[in-house]
Symmetry: C3
Subunit: 115 residues, 3 copies
């Protein structure tokens, strides 16, 4: 099962992480493999900055997900907010356009969830 | 046509119910069958409690939908908010994880709508 | 690539238009064709009225998209808000039910994005 979570609002990080963690727990309990990608655009890229992520608590939770979850930040959103890709959490991938990533993944069979 | 509505925010119940009712009306007018499921997680499970549903008006509207619409509450969300499954409206199903239900339904061909 | 954007909240017009414009730019840069439809229901149909669109700035941005993007307004939403179809921006299509349009497009292979 392949699943894409879309976050574009800083206030939705909390519920998104709850959702991703619940899905991983379910995978462990039922021995199913979930391939999970989180695509971040809009203002929500702010919480992917190392300093901001430590302040608001996304840092520890994203770090705990580790390699089980791919996290992608939209390059346009970073540029709009003058955020340097170098300031992001280690392991976060930068994609040219978040919405194109989302469309492509759905065409590959990913389910789409917008918490 | 199979359609899944996702509700995770108490403030989105109103528009979600408007959407579901509009879809059922359209089905009646055009003699098409819509298989509709509403997956509820996050704070929106609160409005599935019998007492709360009567207070805010979801009770009458969900009851009127009857068997035409399957309503599922996420077990994790219920646990997080200390809501007992027994306190829910009659007919509401409890699923182990709302996000897994959403992903599975999409893999079965359901369209996803997040009002 | 076929993509449907869903807008049902007036406050999400800004980010939706950012997203659509980013997708079109990406298409130009990579010589890919994106077939884009924007389905508007709920309170967000207000910003499709000519006068309101000029006031809030959706007018210029939607006009600039031109024929590259199909914009559909939900007839139910217009009726609920007593908005006449004649008051809408030129080029906006009216569909009987926004949610049915969304479900049908997904069944045709459109990706769904809710900004």
């Amino acid at each position: 099962m392949q699943v894409l979570f879309h976050v574009d609002d800083s206030e939705r990080w909390e519920i998104t992480l709850n959702n991703v963690e619940a899905m991983l727990r379910c995978g462990q309990e039922t021995s199913r493999v979930f391939t999970i990608e989180v695509v971040v655009n809009g203002a929500a890229v702010r919480e992917l900055q190392l300093a901001q992520a430590k302040r608001v608590g996304t840092y520890d939770r994203l770090a705990a997900l580790g390699a089980a979850v791919r996290v992608c930040a939209c390059k346009n959103a970073l540029a709009n907010l003058a955020i340097s890709p170098e300031s992001l959490l280690p392991g976060v991938a930068v994609v040219p356009a978040g919405v194109v990533e989302i469309a492509e993944r759905q065409s590959e069979g990913y389910a789409y969830i917008k918490p």
